[in-house]
Assembly symmetry: C2
Homo-oligomer: 260 residues x 2
C-alpha cells in the first residue's frame, strides 16, 4: 500500500482509495468496483465528507428495523470487504444478523478470499454465500445466486454499495431492503426501503453505536421509529442539502479559490 | 472487452467504463485512474450526461486561445489515451498543437504504450514526453518531468483529466492552462484559466468541430472571444445548473421512481 502522510489534507480519502486498490490486488474487489468507489468519492465530496442529518435518521430507522427482524442478513461484497471488514463482522454481531458474501461479479475464488478476510476479524464467524443454492427471480444465473439460510429466507437485508438491479429484485421478492449508497440518485438508493446516503466507513461504526443505544428499547418504541421513518423525505433532504451547498459555492465563486 | 448490448439504457457509460478497464489491462491507465473515472461518471450523471452551455462557452474560448498560441501543447495521460486516442491526435492536428505524454504515475513502459496507442491513429504523429529533460518547479521528481520541446516551452497547454497539484504548478509557471474536468469543484477545475466541465468523449469531438469553425476568423475576433470569456462565471454557472437540477429532483421526489 502506498504510504500517505497523515498530515495530507485528503488523508482519509486517499487512505481508503489505497484500501480499494489493495482489495483489487488481493482478488476481493472487482475492477468495476474501483470505478464504483470513484463515483462514491464524488458524492461524498458533495455532502462534505461527513454524516449528514438525513443519513443519521436513516441509520436509526435501519438499526431499529434490524433489531425487530426475524431473519436479518447483511450482505458483503468486494468493496465492503476492502473498506470495512472488521466493522462488518462487528455490525452483524451487534444486530444479531447473519453475514452473506454476495457478489455481482461472482467467482468462487473471490467469495473465498472475502470470507477469509472476514474470518481474520473473528475466526468463529459464520459466513453464508459460499454454496448458494437458491436464486433471486429475475436476475441472470450468476448474479442471482443466494444462500438458502441467508438472503433467501431473510425478512430484512442490508445490501451496501449494491447494484440497482439486485436491490430492485430483492424489493420485489418482498424483502425489507436497507442500503448504504453515497449516490442518492442511484437505482439502489431510489428502490430501497431505507437508504443511508453516507460513506460506509462512517456509517458502519455509527450503526454499531446505534445498535448499542437502541437494543434495550421496548419493541413498541423500535416499531414507532420504523413507522415514523420516511425514505422519500430522506432522499429529498439529501438532494436539498447538496443543492444548497452548491448554491452557496456558486454564489461565493470558486475560481482560483484554494480551499472550498 | 465485455460486450454490452447497444439497447442498454446506460450503453455509452458502460462502454467507456469497459474502455477504461481495458486501458488498465493494457498498461496505459493507472489503477487510481479507474477511481478517477468513477468520480467523473458521478459528475457526468449530475450534469445529465450532455454538454451544457457553460462547457460549450469554455470550449469556444479554449479553441480560440489555442488558435492564437505560439507553442500550444496538448497533454495526454492514461485515461485520455484509453478514452479518446483518435480524437486526441485529430484535435492536435486541428489546433496545430504538439502532443506530450505526461503521467502522474510515470513509468517508461506506460509512456511507450500510450505513445504506441496514439501512433496507431497516425503513424507520423510526433509524440513528446518520451525523454523529458525539464522539470516543473514545485513538483516531486517523477511527477514534474516535462519535455523541453513541449510543455516546458508552451505558452498554452491543455491538460485534460489532470491532477490539481500539476495544474496549479503549470499556472504558477505562467502557462495559460485549459483543462477538461467533469468535477467543477476539483482543484484543476478551480485553478485553470479555462475549465471545460464536460466528458472528454463529448468535448474533444466538439472542439475539433469548433477548430474548423474558428480557424478562419481574424485574430482580433479570436482575441475578443478569449477576452470576453469569464472562467469564474463558467464555474458558477455549472454549479448553478447542477443545483437547479437537484432542486427539481428533490421537489418532485425520487423514491421508487424508475427513471429520473
Amino acid at each position: 500500500m502506498v504510504k500517505i502522510p497523515r498530515s495530507h489534507p485528503r488523508y482519509w480519502s486517499l487512505y481508503y482509495r489505497e484500501r480499494i486498490i489493495e482489495g483489487m490486488e488481493r482478488g476481493m474487489t472487482a475492477k468495476a468496483g474501483l470505478i464504483a468507489h470513484g463515483r462514491g468519492e464524488a458524492f461524498d465530496y458533495l455532502i462534505g465528507e461527513r454524516t449528514i442529518e438525513p443519513a443519521e435518521r436513516a441509520m436509526r430507522a435501519a438499526v431499529a428495523k434490524f433489531l425487530l427482524a426475524k431473519h436479518p442478513v447483511i450482505s458483503v461484497n468486494g468493496n465492503v470487504a476492502a473498506l470495512v471488514p472488521k466493522e462488518t463482522v462487528e455490525l452483524a454481531k451487534a444486530l444479531n444478523a447473519k453475514l452473506e458474501v454476495n457478489l455481482f461479479y461472482r467467482t468462487e475464488e473471490r467469495v473465498r478470499t472475502i470470507a477469509g478476510e472476514l474470518g481474520k476479524h473473528d475466526p468463529d464467524v459464520e459466513i453464508l454465500g459460499i454454496n448458494p443454492t437458491k436464486r433471486i427471480p429475475g436476475l441472470e444465473h450468476e448474479r442471482g445466486k443466494v444462500d438458502e439460510k441467508g438472503i433467501w429466507r431473510a425478512d430484512v437485508v442490508l445490501v451496501p454499495l449494491e447494484d440497482g438491479d439486485r436491490t430492485e429484485a430483492l424489493v420485489e421478492m418482498g424483502k425489507f431492503v436497507v442500503t448504504v449508497d453515497l449516490n442518492p440518485l442511484s437505482r439502489s438508493a431510489r428502490m430501497a426501503d431505507i437508504t443511508i446516503v453516507d460513506n460506509i466507513v462512517r456509517a458502519y461504526p455509527r450503526m454499531i453505536e446505534l445498535a448499542g443505544e437502541l437494543k434495550n428499547l421496548p419493541r413498541e418504541e423500535l416499531e414507532r421509529i420504523v413507522e415514523e421513518y420516511d425514505n422519500e423525505k430522506t432522499l429529498s433532504d439529501v438532494l436539498t442539502y447538496i443543492r444548497d451547498r452548491l448554491g452557496r459555492l456558486a454564489e461565493g465563486g470558486i475560481w482560483r479559490r484554494k480551499r472550498l
